[in-house]
Amino acid sequence: MSQAANRRPEDAIERNAAAGPVFAALADPTRRHILSVLSEGSTATASQLATDLPISRQAIAKHLQALAEAGLVKSSHQGRETLYRLTPKPLSDAMQWIAATGALWDARLERLAERLSEER
């Protein structure tokens, strides 16, 4: 019923697989800040991002690497510079997981309420 109505099994698996690594990448506040900066502009270099934050360019580069591994940013090369930009789909898939999971819990809690009120 409401379990299957949300999605096909393959979609569920895909979203489930995407959400963990994305949220893990977002657990770090520096990485969240990097993403919010990238979401405002189009591209940025590690140096540009480093001017924004009290940490080294090398540390920024490590965070960007983690974000790239989670599929949240993509890099491209322009001359000697590496430019980073946001790839929004994994983040929106993860948000979708939150919404779908929340809806499943709404349904379960509703059934819990019904069961509790049945037992008199």
Binding site: N16, A19, A27, T30, W105, L109, L112, R115
Partner: protein, 134 residues
Amino acid sequence: MTANPRTAQREITLPVGRERAWTMLRDAEGLSGWLADEVTLEVREGAEGALRWRDGTERAVAVEEVREHRRLSFVWREPEGDPTLVEISLDDVPQGTRIAVIEMPVLALEAECRSLDSPSRAASEGPSMLAPLA
């Protein structure tokens, strides 16, 4: 919304006491009919079992924490899926019992723990989802 955007959270307040609400969490019989259609599980820390739904879907489940009348947490996953942690807490409120649920991928929870240990975590950071777990 103050909810941690890296978790799914929901709650419901019911006009019953915590002991009564706990009857829906304390064993397979209590859990079946709402958490899943069929529950094969002993509600005991470390116990493993299975949940099945009428549409044929199922999940493997492992019980993490059992605090009578207070909290039940477990890790579950779909056959090919990543494990997520579910924590169900019961709290007294004037209108009865608030039943609050948080669900989070285990991978993400581990990263949150590492982030809390890391010196880069600002003191001004907002409340973490782990606070209710304490």
